[in-house]
């Protein structure tokens, strides 16, 4: 589904990704771990199409199409979804209006009619309950005044509504209490299917107790230096990154 080859990217003239390779097939869940500053968030943002990041080498293809050539909105319409580490607050635009506009853009892209109002409300209510948020959050401004945990649940709610092919979770677990973590994990697990893929960027092994990955990769200095199965995450939890030749303290 996703094929990343020798990807290099910089932000504000600082080279972050230095030749990253990754293959993600439909149905798979990949976890990307690594110390602070290794390039995890940069990878997420580059895949989603943040123009603040400059891609200066390599290629990324999504189901055979050149992802880097697509606009941010076209990537979303082709099924890429990024759950933000720091979701943006947009007072004045309600969650409902936001999601309806998003769904209709995606439907239009697929040549489908606009979603009808009743069907949309039913879907929205169902998904907001699925992430344990009160339905009143639908009417509130996007993330406006939400707590950290509520923002992350709102990201998962959006993901469930948009049903992406490729979901990228950028440290969605950070700052969550155990209940919220379960909600997030249940949301992702509900979305797992043979024709979807998930990339989870995370700092901690904890999330992986709830969403069991097929592969775990270690990112350091802008490239993947080690890959393995789910047991790699446990090993990292136990031994830190030092045994891989990364000095975590120097990075932080």
């Amino acid at each position: 589904m996703l094929s990343i080859s020798n990807l290099q990217a910089s932000v504000e003239d600082k080279q972050i990704l230095t030749g990253l390779n990754l293959e993600v097939k439909a149905g798979e869940v990949h976890a990307i771990m690594g110390p602070n500053g290794s390039g995890k968030s940069t990878l997420s943002q580059v895949l989603a199409g943040n123009e603040a990041y400059e891609v200066n080498g390599g290629s990324v293809s999504l189901e055979g199409n050149d992802l880097l050539d697509m606009s941010t909105e076209d990537r979303a319409r082709e099924g890429v979804f990024l759950a933000f580490q720091y979701p943006v607050e947009i007072p004045g635009v309600s969650n409902l209006q936001f999601m309806k506009t998003a769904i209709n853009n995606i439907r239009q892209h697929r040549g489908q009619d606009e979603i009808n109002a009743a069907e949309f409300m039913k879907l929205a209510k169902q998904k907001i309950q699925q992430v344990n948020l009160d339905p009143s959050f639908l009417k509130r401004g996007v993330n406006e005044g939400f707590s950290g945990g509520e923002k992350k649940r709102n990201e998962i709610m959006q993901m469930l509504m948009l049903e992406p092919k490729l979901a990228i979770l950028d440290e969605t677990d950070s700052g969550l209490d155990i209940d919220a973590l379960r909600v997030v994990a249940d949301g992702v697990n509900a979305l797992r299917s043979p024709d979807r893929a998930v990339i989870m960027v995370t700092h901690y092994q904890r999330l992986l107790d709830y969403i069991v990955p097929d592969y775990v990769h270690v990112l350091a200095n802008g490239k993947i230096i080690k890959s393995g199965g789910k047991e790699l995450a446990l090993e990292l939890e136990e031994r830190g990154y030092g045994w891989l030749g990364i000095d975590e303290k120097a990075k932080a």
Partner: protein, 417 residues
């Protein structure tokens, strides 16, 4: 130099007015001899004087009525070209009179309004001299008015019209007033609607004031003034929506006359094409321990112009004042202009007063977030532009009006179709 008395049409005060109001008018007429038509050198008209154009050449032949006056809804007053029509006001404890019905005592109260006392508002001065009738609303002590009172101020035909409203709330009384300014289809004729609304809140009274000025005809001009006197522990809240016309001006004056008063002023302005809107707000903190909060958001597109002049004047005795003023603006095109000027004058030493003005474009981070959900760039910008003002529109206490304003703004700010 044109003197403002050149705009006087009537030869003398209307015969039906109480004699103290007639005397008031005669005095104001005399005073107009020295008032000049504002030019760009006139400080309070610096950014808007050029819009006045050939105001002096406005003809006097006003149509008397468009027939709307007969079709008033309950609890609605229509002032059309200065003449008053209303059905029975069925709000318990609320009395409505026209100025020609006022007792001398009531007439004296009218003359004590903030705007009636202001001698630096050129067009209000003209209104003082020229109004032929007006609406007097009083709410009895301890009356909580259940329904809102709607006042529709209309202008039809070419020329100048003058509307006059006076509202007084008794002790611990409360009232919601909806004031709507509008024009008939002018068919290209030039017209000026000159309105003055004065309000006085007795101790512990609460008033919500909702004002909309949504006419967008290229030839219409609106110059309005609203004044509020707040006595002890009274509360005043306003929600104003202004869409531009050729010249659109609102002077808003609040006088915190006694301790413990609080006011919240919310305003939204959206202009397009060659339109103009000028907000001049002025909050006089005379008494100690009062609080004022002001938030105005403006969006100017195309070649339009918006002015915001927000003054907070904290007098020497107004210790422990809490004042905050925020004016946020969005410029949608290179040809649009926004002139924002906060003015703080503080003579007391124990006060908290904050003000902030921003003029900017949309937040790229917000646009990006919307785009990552599949929303196209143009649509994302449109949603954020609308959202910028909807935050304040949704604070409107009357849900139907909030919805109506939202629909209007959504259609105005829609870049598609």
């Amino acid at each position: 130099m044109t003197r403002l008395n050149a705009l006087l049409r009537g030869s003398e005060p209307a015969a039906s007015l109480p004699s103290s109001l007639k005397d008031f008018q005669l005095t104001k007429r005399k005073a107009l001899d020295t008032v000049l038509l504002p030019t760009r050198k006139t400080e309070n008209w610096k950014y808007s004087a050029k819009r006045l154009g050939d105001i002096n050449g406005l003809p006097a032949d006003l149509k008397t009525s468009s027939g709307l006056a007969e079709k008033t809804d309950p609890n609605t007053v229509i002032i059309e070209n200065g003449q008053v029509a209303h059905s029975d006001i069925g709000i318990a404890g609320v009395t409505l009179k026209t100025f020609d019905m006022l007792s001398e005592d009531e007439a004296k109260v009218v003359m004590q309004g903030v705007i009636a006392r202001s001698d630096d508002l050129q067009f209000a001065q003209l209104n003082h001299a020229e109004f032929s009738n007006g609406v007097f609303v009083s709410v009895a002590d301890h009356t909580q008015a259940e329904q809102a009172l709607r006042i529709i101020i209309r202008h039809s035909g070419q020329g100048i019209s003058y509307s006059r409203v006076f509202i007084t709330l008794g002790k611990l009384a409360s009232l919601t007033v909806i004031e709507e300014l509008s024009f008939d289809d002018l068919g290209g004729a030039s017209a000026l609607l000159n309105s003055v609304t004065d309000c006085t809140l007795s101790a512990g009274a609460r008033m919500q004031y909702i004002r909309s000025d949504m006419d967008q005809q290229a030839q219409s001009k609106v110059i309005g003034a609203t004044g509020v006197v707040q006595n002890r522990d009274s509360f005043f809240e306003s929600h104003c929506l202004g869409l531009g016309t050729h010249l659109d001006r609102h002077d808003f004056r609040i006088e915190m006359a006694e301790p413990g008063a609080e006011c919240n002023l919310n305003g939204v302005c959206v202009t397009q094409q060659q339109q103009h809107y000028d907000n001049h707000t002025s909050i006089e903190h005379i008494a100690p321990n009062c609080q004022s909060n002001e938030s105005y958001r403006c969006i100017a597109g195309d070649q339009s112009q918006i002015v915001f002049n927000g003054r907070i004047h904290i007098h020497r005795d107004a210790q422990k004042t809490l004042g905050s003023m925020s004016n946020k603006n969005l410029l949608l095109s290179n040809g649009a202009e926004i002139d924002s000027k906060p003015e703080l004058e503080i003579y007391a030493d124990d006060v908290k007063c904050a003000h902030g003005t921003t003029i900017g474009q949309l937040d790229e981070q917000e646009i990006y977030y919307l785009k990552t959900r599949g929303i196209k760039d143009e649509q994302a910008r449109q949603m954020l532009t609308l959202g910028f003002v909807l935050e304040l529109v949704r604070a409107n206490p009357i849900a139907e009006i909030a919805e109506q304003w939202e629909d209007k703004l959504a259609s105005l700010l829609s870049f598609e179709q």
